[in-house]
Amino acid sequence: MSFTDQITRAAAGVPKIAVGVLLGILVLGVFVMGFDQGQLFSVAQGEQAYEDMWMHEFYHDMRHAAGFACH
């Protein structure tokens, strides 16, 4: 009986840990690729990061192509 219970419960749920990992990837990935204007590298680079905007420049073409705000 407990055997059946275990099967049902395990098969029905979406693992929370997997959802957490994937949500983290979603937020970080979309921010870095689509929105960063120097914030990420400013942690190490300071104010200079907002001048260089490496992430903006590196992901520049896809930002335009995928419809993100750019320039």
Binding site: F3, Q6, I7, A10, A11, G13, V14, P15, I17, A18, V19, V21, L22, L23, I25, L26, L28, G29, V30, V32, M33, G34, F35, Q37, E57, F58, Y59, H60, D61, M62, R63, H64, A65, A66, G67, F68, A69, C70, H71
Partner: protein, 240 residues
């Protein structure tokens, strides 16, 4: 559900779809980006800025390679969201195979997260866009995606509780009304589109075509991988 298989096939399908997007864009969208960047450079040169052609060419090669990396990152990010929604919504989606279900969901997410936001705030090539308004434009773009996306999600969850006879019309009607209200309430893109209209138009069609392809590939690959690995059945197989 086998968590590792679920994460692996979700990220793999996003990686494949995003890398294909980056590679296809090299041929389909890049010509318009290059044309727009040439216009930008002409304007800058006319204002007295000195641009070294060979340095700039090297820079553009680096930037174009970034487009493929960006495709991979964007693909895994949107793929992660797609996988989560698919895992929760699989049983409610139409279709008899996971491939059909994934394609149905890809169509819905393409509409809610790409097409509708793009109709309000269409993509612009380089040469359009004022750096001073970047944060406002980013905020507006997130706002329309969030409104459209959460409206679609809420209706998807509420669908089963709606009256059976009318829900096929009721759900799209509520979604359309919500989005129409958002289109009306949110301000227009503040920047003037001062690039040639035929260039901007052709760029938008190319961009829309490859983004549509991205969602199609994403749905196809995740659906096919899901049918093959069946992560939701893993627990039962193990128990037997």
């Amino acid at each position: 559900m086998k968590a590792l298989t679920f994460i692996a096939i979700t990220l793999l399908s996003g990686l494949v779809a995003g890398t294909v997007l980056g590679l296809v864009n090299q041929g389909v969208v890049e010509p318009y980006l290059s044309a727009a960047i040439d216009l930008e450079n002409q304007a800058a040169t006319a204002e007295g800025e000195i641009i070294n052609p060979s340095e700039f060419a090297t820079y553009r090669i680096w930037q174009r390679s970034g487009s493929i990396a960006a495709g991979a990152v964007l693909g895994m990010s949107l793929g992660a969201l797609f996988g989560i929604v698919f895992a929760y919504g699989r049983n409610a989606l139409p279709g008899s195979t996971n491939l059909q279900k994934a394609l149905a969901l890809a169509g819905i997410m393409w509409l809610a997260l790409y097409l509708v936001p793009a109709l309000k705030y269409p993509a612009n090539p380089p040469a359009v866009g004022d750096p001073e308004t970047i944060y406002l434009r980013q905020g507006l773009y997130i706002a329309i995606i969030a409104i459209s996306g959460f409206a679609a999600l809420a209706l998807g969850i509420a669908y089963k509780k709606m009256p059976v006879k009318s829900r096929r019309f009721l759900a799209p009607a509520i979604y359309t009304a919500t989005v129409a209200a958002a289109f009306f309430a949110l301000p227009a893109n503040p920047d003037a589109v001062n690039a040639p209209a035929d260039l901007v138009g052709a760029f938008r069609i190319a961009s829309g075509a490859t983004m549509t392809m991205f969602w199609l590939v994403l749905g196809t690959v995740l659906g096919a991988l899901w049918d093959r690995t069946k992560p939701h059945e893993a627990a039962r197989i193990k128990a037997l």
